[in-house]
């Protein structure tokens, strides 16, 4: 198994994972989407709401706001040792939102949410929650908790987590005459004509659409395109709640734990 990083920033990662089965790559993808925990608002206590949206609509919008997550300081509520309904300081963070449109219209933004833990805050302050007319007021208390994408999509830490097979493109240099039809047909500008032969200029952009193979006038086609199903080009984008590197490390950890649990249960069967 080998990993080659093509791009790695705080929120986006693009890498090539080679020498693994499609099942492994898919497991990593699925776990990154639905089993890596992240923080989101789960309980809303409404004191006052004279806005045009109902309490439930505002609560729904609050739940979808991505919050900066601290996986080391908090635990999933189901796994917390306090075992209480309302939670404790290790499994939930209390926040509040109190906005009144005193003179004129005002928009309530995610930046108006204030939590007891200053490390927990919305990924961006600019998300509009509701618009208030003069005199309208919104006053509520929120509880943010850790959860997984499996329970609700608001807890999905990624916006994109997908892979494609590594393309392999072979041009038969004896047969190819550089007519350029495949170059024109390619939607991703993968090919070009050089010295009267077709060459690959951007292999990683190929989407395996096979248009180049279809338009080649030669019989059999001078160009062969295949996807290597043991090498994967991953693209992962975080919502900002966690650094993308952390999401992938946690996904790998969870996959390892699942494997160990399976091994343990099989041993118990005897």
């Amino acid at each position: 198994m080998e990993i080659k990083i093509l791009e790695l920033t705080e929120n986006k990662a693009k890498f090539i994972l080679s020498d693994v089965t499609p099942a492994f790559a898919n497991a990593l993808r699925r776990i990154a989407i639905s089993e890596v925990p992240s923080m989101a608002i789960d309980d809303v206590f409404v004191y006052e709401n004279t806005s045009v949206l109902t309490d439930e609509m505002i609560a729904h919008r609050l739940g979808l706001i991505p919050l900066k997550t601290d996986l080391d300081s908090y635990v999933l509520p189901e796994k917390c040792s306090c075992k209480s309904e309302m939670g404790c300081n290790r499994c939930r963070v209390i926040g509040s939102l109190n906005v009144e449109a005193e003179d004129g219209r005002k928009t309530v933004y995610s930046g108006d949410l204030k939590f007891e833990d200053p490390e927990v805050k919305p990924v961006t302050d600019k998300i509009p929650i509701v618009k208030l007319e003069a005199g309208q007021r919104l006053k509520l208390e929120v509880h943010a908790k850790l959860g997984t994408g499996k329970q609700h999509a608001k807890w999905q830490p990624v916006s994109t987590c997908a892979y494609k097979y590594m393309p392999t493109i072979e041009v038969n240099k004896r047969v190819c005459d550089g007519c350029g039809r495949c170059v024109e047909a390619c939607p991703k500008k993968v090919l070009n004509v050089e010295k009267e032969k077709v060459v690959v200029v951007d292999l990683l952009s190929c989407t395996l659409c096979m248009e180049c193979v279809k338009v080649c006038p030669k019989e059999p086609p001078a160009i062969k395109v295949k996807g290597d199903d043991k090498t994967f080009i991953f693209t992962v984008e975080s919502t900002g709640c966690l650094p993308v590197k952390r999401i992938l490390v946690e996904a790998a950890k969870i996959l390892k734990d699942k494997g160990e649990e399976l091994s343990r249960q099989i041993k118990e069967l005897g």
């Binding site: 206590f45 409404v46 004191y47 309490d55 609560a59 739940g63 509040s96 208390e141």
Partner: protein, 54 residues
Amino acid sequence: MKTLAAKIEYQCVKCGKKFTYEELSMMPEFKCSECGYRVLKKARPPIVKHVKAR
């Protein structure tokens, strides 16, 4: 944050004067005692409402 402690009440739509159910049942005619408007609405109860953000 503390919960507000007040009785369930009704409110005149025009001038905002509040009445309790008892005061309303005592009045001979169904209208606001201050401005005479005959439309009343139920003021939001002072209960803290718990909503799941799902």
